[in-house]
């Protein structure tokens, strides 16, 4: 089937099998390999991207469902020279080790902060329930999200 979607601000028109998952479209067709696949039951969250600003697990979304919509991946939020505050906070707080869960974790965390919810240690931990990290024990991830939350709020003002 033909579909048109915007990924990281660039419009793509593609012909894909109807059963193509958004995660596969991003990784295989568009070579945006920052979005990772860590499980087959939509539990690990490594594939989390934004669809019209909401975080979704791209392994659970058909590419067809993204037709006409805007997708943002980890590659679309910042670069080494111009990091998103959440990316910077992950580095500053040592919130990643192997880096495999990190893109999904960052995308989920950005949405969490942008939702405007009041955040503390407990609420961040509960909100990250859908993203599994095996390396960090979450301690520094929570610290990074709270740090970035402050920066993002300051920038918004």
């Amino acid at each position: 089937m033909n579909l048109t979607l915007t990924v990281n601000g660039v419009e793509h028109s593609l012909d894909v099998p109807a059963n193509t998952l958004l995660a596969d479209l991003l990784r295989t067709q568009l070579r945006l390999t920052g979005t990772h696949v860590g499980c087959d039951t939509s539990q690990c969250g490594a594939c989390t991207v934004h669809l019209d600003g909401r975080s979704v697990k791209a392994c659970t979304v058909l590419a067809a469902q993204a037709d006409g919509r805007a997708v943002t991946t980890i590659e679309g939020i910042g670069s080494p020279d111009d990091l998103h505050p959440m990316q910077a906070a992950f580095r500053d707080c040592h919130a990643l080790q192997c880096g495999f869960c990190t893109p999904g974790m960052i995308m989920r965390a950005i949405e969490l902060v942008e939702s405007g919810a009041a955040l503390d240690n407990r609420t961040v931990r509960e909100a990250l329930e859908g993203n599994i990290c095996r390396c960090t024990g979450y301690h520094n991830i929570v610290k990074a999200v709270l740090t970035a939350s402050d920066t993002m709020q300051e920038q918004a003002q």
Binding site: H94, H139, I141
Partner: protein
């Protein structure tokens, strides 16, 4: 060197920039022209004979290219997957190794065991074809339970029993005598639950074969690509080493599970030449659950004798360890040399005897996972010490202190074959008690009780032996090879530095830490030092990363190489300055003689373009070194856990965790803290959440993240971590290793807290809400 980037500085990791921007390169991110896709055929049965495999229909699928079976790999002469550590039974006989072909030939022995490979133009076609392969199995009765396996009928044809070895260490007669004479004996039956490692990146392989050169290239998720190449060349005999390059690009966590040489990358590499096209295979998570090496799975009875004063007089341990259906690469060593040798813990117990029965079952092979034997040993020692304190009415912290090896006792030889070089166990316990506010526990317990929650506190004073080698000792213990690590430092002509290490990073941050070490040692800017690892085409040799060895062994090799660089640079500088080498000093990155000064960069440039060197002075400034430690390193520490058990729901919440660890000198404290946090979460997972369960038919009932409970962010608290420092006495950096400590110490501390809360020693890991709910109601 600069205080911002040298040894001891919390330098931000340079590898992070690619990971946080999605620019990392993991194996599955790679694609090559002409690539095909592999899907493995896996046994649906725990134990069955393979009568016939019919691939005719599968090969009709559009895009299907080939189906390979165990008959094909056997006919091609592919060797078995070896076990690298020979354990001898107490009667002196070698362990009994069941043959482990890469693809099952005539019998499958665990659910998920690969018996064939389907290759096709697309992943979809490969999956469709795999569905159409008709395999005729004849089911056989499986052996599953650890405790009963040794007595059950043998699962492997030609083996007399499901017993790989009956191993022992220590003096049994003396231990029995001391137990008989003890004023008090504490007895405990313990199960160490089976775990499934679950690095978040599934295993993957991309193999290519170039018919023009006859060269294979395997890119795979490995913690030690050189060992992978060695095994595939020397044992499986796919190709000689000069025709086989193994690259481990960015690897998404390993925790031990990616050390081993598995069937999948082996067969994919072999098949790439048969198909004449590159083949890519990436595990689905369900395959990771079925076919990654599992961990732990011990059943143990232990007895601890105490005298009237509370001093430990003897420890006797009987363990049955489930090795799975085959001996994985290091599987035999984990419940023996990495377990029995650690049963002295931090204590002066004079008599220790351990016996381990390693048994075969129709389950996935069991091998090293973060801690590997040492969490199991710590669980035995620290659970029984806690139980003894309760039985004899002593404070658990004070009973430990009474029995601890004291700072003046080092070097201390244990009754179980190790010599601890240094430590200060009292210091870490004191600091942990302070951080945990031990004195305030009673008040906190009362406050919890008022909210319908039972609060408990638990201790674990662990020790681990890290930094494998020492090679001579390892070989005495049965290792198939010595375990030196290599390092090479190349000062490039313009003065930048390329560091090659045989160690491998898959989250540990070598690219930063090793650069700190070399920059500090050679006095060159941190940003000028690049660390290369994980590629047999670029790094001469290595034994990879496991057993918290990277810095203690690999880092020490770099120090040796740097010493050689300084020695050679001194001779070159002396020649340039027309001074005697003895009169040239190296300080802060420069060679100095009198009032002459040449930077390392100036000397390096000159060394590559000389015109007037004497015959005994060779141009260039690049040096290699192999390092072998004379002993293990012995990180140790004190962990204190506090839990609340909800009376209504049985849910255990880990509310406070203090870890005070002694890792010797610390290069990057930020990274060290992170390593501890991660280990603690894995230990909390073992204690409270994770359990790999096979049913009586040998079906894995915890085969997905829906059933196998991984620790999530809201399952663990913020951790309180600190370090005490007694430098390792025998390596140049004074480091001990920090990667596994969290997972080693924490399960015992947490279960000690749970048993404290419940008032019973009878708690199995994981301490699930159901189990707690039943215990709270006496069910």
């Amino acid at each position: 060197m600069s205080a911002e980037t040298g040894i001891g500085a919390a330098v931000k990791r340079r590898e992070d920039l690619r990971f946080i921007t999605g620019r990392g390169t993991y194996t599955d991110d790679l694609n090559v022209p002409g690539q095909t896709y592999g899907v493995f055929l896996r046994s649906p049965y725990a134990r069955a004979k393979i009568n016939a495999i019919d691939a005719a229909q599968a090969l009709q699928v559009e895009g299907a290219l080939a189906v390979f079976t165990g008959q094909d790999t056997a006919a091609a002469g592919l060797g078995d997957l070896p076990c690298g550590w020979l354990v001898k039974s107490k009667d002196g006989s070698d362990m009994v190794s069941a043959p482990h072909p890469p693809l099952a030939v005539s019998q499958v022995n665990y659910v998920g065991e690969p018996f064939g490979l389907v290759v096709a133009e697309s992943l979809a076609a490969a999956r469709e074809a795999a569905e159409l392969v008709a395999a005729d199995f004849e089911e056989l009765t499986p052996v599953v339970a650890t405790a009963e396996a040794a007595q059950a009928s043998p699962i492997h044809e030609g083996l007399e029993a499901n017993l790989a070895y009956d191993w022992e260490l220590g003096d049994e007669a003396a231990t029995d005598a001391a137990l008989a004479a003890a004023a008090h004996v504490t007895r405990l039956d313990l199960t160490n639950n089976r775990l499934i490692p679950n690095a978040i990146e599934p295993r993957a392989a991309l193999a290519t074969f170039d018919p023009a050169s006859g060269e294979y290239e395997l890119r795979t998720t490995s913690q030690n690509p050189h060992l992978e190449r060695l095994v595939l060349s020397a044992f499986v005999q796919i190709a000689p080493e000069h025709k086989l390059r193994v690259v481990a690009p960015d690897v998404g966590g390993g925790f031990g599970s990616k050390i081993f040489v598995y069937a999948e990358e082996t067969v994919v590499t072999w098949a790439a030449a048969k198909v004449g096209r590159p083949i890519k295979w990436t595990a689905e998570r369900s395959e990771s659950f079925l076919a990654d090496a599992h961990a732990r799975d011990h059943v143990t009875h232990a007895e601890l004798g105490l005298d009237e004063a509370g001093r430990f007089t003897a420890l006797k341990v009987r363990t049955t360890a489930n090795l799975g259906a085959y001996l994985s690469l290091f599987g035999s060593s984990v419940p023996t040399f990495l377990y029995g040798t650690l049963l002295a813990g931090q204590y002066k117990t004079p008599n220790i005897h351990v016996q381990t029965h390693g048994v075969y079952t129709n389950t996935a092979p069991v091998d090293a996972y973060r801690g590997a034997g040492r969490p199991e040993a710590t669980f035995v020692v620290e659970r029984i010490v806690e139980a003894a304190a309760r039985e004899t009415g002593r404070d658990p912290a004070e009973l430990r202190r009474l029995n601890m090896i004291e700072p003046g006792d080092f070097p201390y030889e244990t009754p179980v074959a190790l010599v601890y070089d240094t430590g200060n166990y009292q210091a870490s316990l004191d600091r942990a008690l302070q951080l945990a506010d031990y004195g305030g526990f009673k008040q906190r317990r009362a406050a919890s009780e008022a909210e319908g929650k039972r609060r408990g506190i638990g201790f674990s004073c662990y020790i681990e032996a890290c930094g494998l080698a020492p090679s001579q000792l390892a070989i005495q213990l049965g290792a198939g090879v010595g375990l030196y690590e290599s390092g090479e430092i190349r000062i490039n002509p313009t003065g930048s530095v390329t560091v090659f290490t045989g160690s491998h990073s898959h989250g540990q941050g070598h690219e930063t830490t090793f650069a700190q070490v070399v920059s500090d040692k050679l006095g060159v800017p941190f940003d000028d030092v690049e660390v290369v690892h994980g590629d047999t085409g670029r790094v001469e040799f290595g034994l990879g990363t496991y057993g918290s060895r990277s810095l203690a062994v690999g880092g020490s090799a770099l120090i040796s190489a740097a010493d050689k660089i300084i020695a050679k640079g001194t001779r070159i500088a002396a020649h340039m300055m027309q001074a005697e080498p003895d009169n040239v000093a190296f300080e802060a990155g420069a060679f100095i003689s009198g009032n002459q000064r040449l930077t390392l960069q100036e000397v390096a440039f000159a060394s590559y373009v000389p015109a007037d060197y004497p015959p005994d002075l060779e141009p260039g400034l690049s040096e290699k070194a192999f390092y072998d430690p004379e002993n293990f390193t012995y990180p140790a520490g004190a962990h204190i856990a506090e839990v609340e058990v909800d009376e209504a729901t049985g849910v255990v919440q880990l509310v406070n965790f203090v870890a005070v660890d002694d890792f010797g000198q610390i290069i990057n404290p930020m990274i060290v803290d992170g390593q501890v946090h991660g280990g603690l979460a894995q230990g909390a997972g073992q204690a409270l959440l994770e359990h790999g369960i096979y049913d009586a038919d040998g079906q894995l009932t915890t085969g997905s993240y829906m059933d196998y409970c991984m620790p999530r962010a809201d399952d663990v608290p913020d951790f309180t971590v600190d370090t005490t420092v007694t430098p390792c006495t025998h390596n140049p950096l004074g480091v001990k290793g920090c990667g596994e400590a969290g997972a080693i110490g924490s399960p015992a501390a947490i279960i000690n807290a749970v048993t404290d809360a419940l008032g019973t020693e009878d708690v199995a890991m994981p301490a699930t809400p159901e189990q707690m709910w039943r215990k709270l109601r006496g069910l």
